[in-house]
Homo-oligomer: 363 residues x 2
């Protein structure tokens, strides 16, 4: 290999591909990125066996070639130099990196051991603006289960219907559903692993082109002109979560998001082990209280607007905070569905696209 | 106790006093701050048995009193509310905190168990502007030993001479000396524990008045109108460190601080276990190289100005980086004192106030 690349592009590609590399994985070859020429491009690839990334940057290719290079040291070096142009040459499994101020050699490895990142031949099922996809994932990801006891809950359920894309996640204590009104080219569904969604969110922060989503039997692919991310899917049937979303609302209260969040955070200082706070909603105020026999107690009051009858509920403050944060609006509506029934968090009365359900505390 | 205080002042006092409270200390009373009225003031106190802080804020005192309150929960609560005025009342070992939006109770403890923070009766030995004291401590602190094998090295040696204050620290691998040209009221010396210096640096970041330093036999006191910090001193004789500072300079080289720092940082990626990098200084350039048989090697070159003969040295990159960072100027002078002799880092040729000595690597 003998090629010239622009430092900035190479740095970006490395920072994106390096991120998924697990530090404590047992297969040493996976600590490397694969560098490979392809016409007038350099492909930088990495994988942790669950997710694989290929990232393309422009390159002046004088001689073709490929090598596996320890990701950390290459990324640390390239991201800390300012020289504009970088020449990469391979001789005897060593990568020579030359630029104006630096001459560097990094010892690499044969690419034969590097796992092949699978290709998907299907056509994209939908193309979405980066920001919309990222926000949808951000809305639901906190509800995905951290446990592997029910593997299908450790991911984000994504359903492509005739008119929309529905994202849902639940750990059986709370549930988030986020609907995007964009028309897929086809129907289908997938359970995307929690880690994949987190990585895709991170990577999308650095990307501003539209994203194609392609579905195959057991894999999903996110791609744009510069990169492709392939991930395995979770095998299994996602529960019929729509049954959990209450249809009958008894009362609802409208509050300012920041005030509610602050009240809940302060109350959280005084909760006991089961993390419960009490919310008492009356005509024009919502009172939040928490009590811990060892620490003390707190009582706060915020202005609010009630529809129908006053109500009192006990909630886990963490679940409520996650819901408040996921809302993404200045105001929040809490819907009461009866004693021992779920509480629903919405953006507003007419909001059909975002739903956050908190299951009742079992005392 | 029944008093009213301003939230902002109380928050600042708590954030400063709470910081020294060790989370894993075995004496539970030390997790508390002591609140005590004093005329028209509230004194907030904390101690970790090595350092003690008293911080005073104005208060409208209707009824005197004192209580020990868990520092973390009080500080978390007070720093997260915006209500301007706060009323504090004590009833049956419970602190009632009332403000516009919140009614809170925190369970406290009897103040009898709270250790007395010692008072020093001596007159201040010197008064220094905060910024000067803070920068002097920052210059030397990294050289203080982290080990307790030679307890006297685990602190900053501070010597009050007839015309200046000298700060010095060494872990026997490198040494920093920083001299301040301010005249003390008296002579004396003290070894201030490393942790105390770190805490004083942190606290001074929030303070803008002058600082009085007072010395007693085994304690030191830093004080201003609002607060006093008392710390124990390290017992022992500080080594005669001035003997280590080379008098005879063979060659010296002037480089830009940022370029040298960047070169050393990049070289550090390629060092072996003993962390050594090689610096080769010739007429108008300084070359930095590092080699690791498993990873690869780096060679970089920066412009520089040599006085006298070219030289080559091997150095631990961490020690050199600490010296470069402590310099606090755009340019750095490296002084060569011979093969197997120390390297000295200075701000400039005529700099007598800052000296950083790196002992030679033993191969």
């Amino acid at each position: 290999m003998k090629i010239t690349v622009v430092q900035k592009n190479f740095q970006k590609a490395l920072s994106i591909t390096e991120r998924i590399i697990s530090r404590n994985i047992s297969l040493p070859i996976l600590h490397n990125v694969l560098l490979k020429t392809d016409n007038n491009k350099l492909i930088i690839s990495s994988t942790n066996l669950e997710i694989g990334i290929n990232y393309l940057i422009g390159a002046k290719v004088e001689e073709k070639g490929e090598i596996a290079i320890p990701a950390r040291i290459l990324s640390d070096f390239i991201s800390n130099i300012q020289d504009e142009k970088i020449t990469l040459t391979i001789k005897n499994k060593v990568l020579y990196i030359n630029s104006k101020n630096y001459k560097t050699q990094i010892i690499g490895f044969d690419t034969k051991e590097f796992p092949i990142i699978p290709k998907i031949k299907e056509e994209p099922i939908i193309t979405l603006p980066t920001q919309i996809l990222k926000n949808a994932f951000l809305s639901v990801i906190n509800s995905a289960s951290l446990l592997e006891t029910r593997p299908e809950l450790a991911g984000v359920f994504t359903k492509f219907t005739t008119n929309s894309v529905e994202f849902a996640a639940t750990d059986s204590f709370r549930l988030t559903e986020r609907i995007i009104n964009q028309k897929p080219n086809n129907t289908g569904s997938a359970i995307i692993p929690r880690n994949t969604v987190l990585e895709v969110i991170r990577i999308l922060s650095d990307i501003d082109t539209d994203i194609n989503i392609t579905l195959s039997e057991n894999q999903i692919l996110f791609s744009s002109t510069d990169f492709t991310i392939v991930s395995r899917l979770i095998d299994g049937n996602y529960p019929d979560y729509k049954k959990v979303i209450p249809e009958k609302i008894i009362s609802k209260v409208l509050v300012l998001k920041d005030e509610l969040e602050k009240g809940v955070r302060l109350a959280s200082l005084f909760t006991s082990n089961i993390s419960d706070i009490k919310i008492k909603v009356s005509d024009n105020k919502t009172e939040i209280t928490a009590k811990n026999t060892d620490k003390g107690e707190l009582h706060s009051s915020i202005e609010s607007k009630l529809k129908n009858d006053p109500f009192i509920v006990s909630l886990n403050y963490n679940y409520l905070l996650d819901g408040i944060k996921a809302v993404g609006s200045d105001k929040v509506v809490l819907q009461y569905t009866g004693d021992g029934s779920p509480i629903v968090v919405k953006k507003g009365d007419e909001d059909k696209l975002f739903t956050y359900v908190i299951m009742p505390l079992r005392e």
